[in-house]
């Protein structure tokens, strides 16, 4: 048992932290938000130059063959800096589908563009009524000749407006909530029949609602088995959840740090408000919540390698519950301890709160995952 980072992991952490310290303070972030698409191509190129976009891919595919711990390190750093660039959508999720389900041809077609930063991806999964159930799919993919025709509507697709390639879940057979008959398809974002409505999200990212009307793709579009891809989807989404847990830990760490700094300097009644015990205890509870979250983020990172898919899913659901509870407490109390200034756009703390809040509601909120753990018979 060992919780230490290896020498290489330590260097990775230093390099990504260093990059973001230079390139991603709060003022720089504001500028990036105003760039076309809502994030910085220059920063994305820097991430590519440092090899961060190629981390999880096999060396044979041009990547570094890194594992879950490396992704955790990067996501924590992205969470600390409130990074807007589509790392989760492109590298973690898009890359995840290609790594776990992609054919040699699909890998060759898409991975180099991800690694060199020239292409981004988006995962079109959520539907009007599917909420958090990954198997609740009404978008259809019907066989036509060798290829497929996709029809349906997807919502809140992160990076959906800018992505070069969409990864779309669609039903090839069966009824709405059947667990069989779901496929995953690589769809060029400019394919005929796609229309997108883009918008900013609460936390400063960009998403799009996307409709597919008779969108034709070739036989090579399906990742994995087009009639039975739910296990693949669950695996990749589990990895996305783990990445979100790590991002949340980074954002919680910074929220706590900012808050402690603030109450050390803000004076009322002639003293720093951090000298008041009620505030000290609140900050201590924030620390406890953040540490519990960190422990479960590590647990979830390890769980991605569990061989038993049920055990993996249960562990990651549990982590998402802990992170959800912790982030809500840390986020809310960070605002409370900042007082009025915490309510303003000009203070960084509110932006952490908003990102944390959106993380809770991505790929299953606390209640959803708690129910899953309970239905699985618990964790101990």
């Amino acid at each position: 048992m060992d919780f230490d980072l290896s020498e290489e992991q330590r260097l990775l952490k230093e390099s990504v932290d260093g990059l973001l310290t230079d390139a991603y303070d709060f003022e720089q972030r504001k500028k990036y938000m105003k760039e076309k698409g809502g994030w910085s191509k220059a920063v994305w190129s820097k991430l590519a130059e440092q090899g961060l976009l190629g981390l999880p891919f096999a060396e044979a595919d041009g990547g570094f063959g890194a594992g879950g711990v490396e992704t955790m390190i990067v996501m924590e750093a992205l969470g600390k800096a409130l990074v807007l660039e589509p790392y989760l959508a492109t590298v973690v999720i898009g890359g995840g589908f290609l790594r776990h389900g992609g054919s040699a041809e699909q890998k060759a077609a898409h991975i180099p563009g991800i690694i060199d930063g020239s292409k981004t991806l988006a995962f079109a999964q959520l539907e009007k009524n599917s909420r958090y159930d990954l198997f609740d799919v009404t978008t259809t993919a019907k066989k036509k000749g060798d290829g497929w025709v996709i029809d349906g509507e997807k919502f809140v697709v992160l990076n959906g407006e800018n992505a070069d390639t969409l990864i779309v879940t669609a039903r090839t057979k069966g009824e709405r909530r059947d667990k069989n008959g779901i496929g995953v398809f690589l769809v060029p974002a400019n394919a005929k029949g796609i229309s997108k409505k883009g918008y900013p999200t609460q936390d400063g990212l960009y998403a799009a609602d996307i409709s597919f009307t008779g969108v034709e793709v070739g036989s090579d579009a399906a990742i994995g088995n087009p009639e039975d891809a739910l296990a693949l989807i669950e695996r990749v989404v589990d990895e996305a959840r783990v990445a979100l847990c790590a991002e949340a830990v980074g954002a919680m760490d910074e929220s706590l740090k900012e808050t402690v700094e603030y109450i050390k300097t803000r004076k009322q009644f002639g003293v720093a408000i951090g000298s008041f015990q009620s505030l000290q205890h609140r900050a201590s509870d924030m620390f406890v919540a953040a540490e519990q979250a960190r422990s479960m983020s590590m647990f979830a990172t390890m769980a991605t390698d569990f061989e038993d898919a049920k055990e993996r899913a249960n562990a990651i659901a549990a982590a998402k519950v802990q992170i959800g509870k912790s982030l809500k407490f840390v986020g809310q109390q960070a605002i409370q301890l900042h007082g009025g200034i915490g309510m303003t756009m000009e203070a960084k703390i509110g932006h952490y709160f908003k990102r944390l809040t959106m993380i809770e509601n991505t790929f299953g909120d606390t209640e959803y995952h708690l129910r899953r753990v309970a239905d699985a018979g618990g964790l101990i």
Binding site: M1, D2, F3, D4, L5, S6, Q9, V69, L256, V260, I263, K264, G274, S275, Q277, L279, Q280, H281, A283, S284, D285, F287, V288, E291, Q292, A293, R294, S295, M296, M298, F299, T301, M302, A318, V321, Q322, L370, R371, V373, A374, D375, G378, L379, I380
Partner: protein, 396 residues
């Protein structure tokens, strides 16, 4: 980073489990599962079995009878012991006064006390808290005055756990009344059989008798019973409390209780079905299990990190253990109350010897709930723990 135990660690866990399975007296285990109090004999019998195996004072240095285990092995041993469940070694001797003696005591004291602690030939109790000195321990007033070759001790201690069984006490006494608070305190050990020592039981809200008041009326103690230097007792007390971390989260205890909750909740019915089939109950239980898993991981982080922050500089995460550990223990007893519902009411009157076996185990659930309110109070209340985090970790 690798959270799995090594092959050697897994083998060690199997060895520990097998030893408990073969050696813990079944009645002792049953009583602990049912939340009953154990008699002195039952506890001492088990500790001597443990000591015979060489595991009685596992974390002591090898020269004094320790095992030389790694911190992970200690962790595994503690967890398995709590989860089996079997009584943990008597903390007052093994975890508290023992390390103070082998660290600060002289050769004669080591020779005299350490083997007797290991074999529980002496049952030790702790003379720290006083009626006016709880969280503010350094304000203590029990005094030891030097008279020839004796200390004359006068004063009162309270919350003295299991003093009714004790042969020896280690006691913080004020030896320099003119010095400021922490400075004039000494660490003195003496026999509970000494003339002038009176033990008065305190009955706690669960009806049990775990704690006592102890009065000292001109108790004469040989001068050589001072441990370390005069007026340095506060340093030794801090050292002692710092050693208390092992197992303070009591993850194993909570694991065993969750196992029991599941067992009982699948037997007891509510709304025409077992309580465990109620989704709301299951979610509450799962929420507790998740908190416990997180705590277990936090504890493992602290264990794996031991010594890496330098001596006396524990991992900042260690302050989480007491707060979360106590909260979770309390939640598990609440969940047991919820399972048993109206059958929590019958009260099993304690016999004169403190035993209570007249009634069904269901009668232990409410007392266990009442009793566990203590865990967020003792060992530095959770509010004190928050003060510690605010100061030592957050720098407030």
């Amino acid at each position: 980073m690798d959270l799995a135990f090594t092959k050697e660690e897994v083998a060690f866990r199997e060895e520990v489990r097998a030893f408990f399975r073969d050696n813990v007296p079944p009645d002792t285990r049953r009583k602990m599962q049912e939340g009953r109090h154990l008699s002195k004999d039952e506890m001492v019998t088990w500790w001597r079995i443990l000591n015979k195996k060489g595991w009685g004072v596992s974390h002591w240095p090898k020269e004094y009878g320790g095992t030389g285990w790694t911190s992970v092995q200690h962790y595994i041993f503690n967890e398995e012991l709590q989860a089996y469940p079997a009584p943990q070694p008597l903390a007052f001797g093994v975890s508290m006064v023992g390390p103070v003696i082998y660290t600060f005591g002289n050769e004669a004291q080591k020779k005299q006390y350490l083997p007797r602690i290991a074999n529980v030939d002496d049952w030790w109790c702790q003379g720290f808290s006083e009626p006016g000195s709880g969280s503010d321990l350094a304000s203590l007033r029990t005094k030891a005055e030097r008279k020839g070759d004796k200390w004359i001790i006068n004063g009162q201690k309270t919350w003295t756990t299991l003093a009714q069984h004790a042969d020896m006490i280690f006691c913080l006494c004020r030896t320099d009344p003119s010095a400021k608070k922490q400075m004039g305190i000494s660490f003195i050990v003496f026999s509970m059989k000494s003339k002038g020592v009176t033990v008065r039981p305190i009955q706690t809200i669960d009806g049990g008798h775990e704690v006592n008041e102890v009065f000292f009326d001109n108790v004469e103690v040989p001068i050589e019973n001072l441990i370390g230097e005069e007026n340095k007792g506060w340093d030794y007390a801090k050292f002692l409390l710092g050693n208390e971390r092992t197992g303070i989260a009591r993850v194993g205890v909570s694991k065993e209780r969750i196992r029991r909750i599941k067992e009982l909740a699948s037997k007891v019915e509510s709304g025409g079905r077992p309580v465990i089939e109620d989704p709301a109950f299951r979610e509450k239980l799962s929420a507790c299990e998740i908190e416990l898993k997180a705590l277990e991981l936090t504890q493992l982080r602290v264990v794996a990190d031991e010594g890496k922050h330098g001596k006396g500089k524990p991992n900042p995460a260690s302050s989480v253990l007491k707060i979360k550990g106590s909260e979770i223990q309390q939640t598990t007893t609440e969940l047991l109350m919820e399972v048993i519902g109206p059958f929590a009411a019958p009260y099993d009157v304690h016999g004169d010897d403190g035993s209570n076996e007249a009634m069904d185990w269901t009668a232990q659930i409410a007392p266990s709930y009442f009793n566990n309110r203590k865990v967020s109070i003792y060992g530095g209340s959770n509010e004190i723990q928050r003060n510690i985090i605010a100061k030592a970790v957050l720098g407030l």
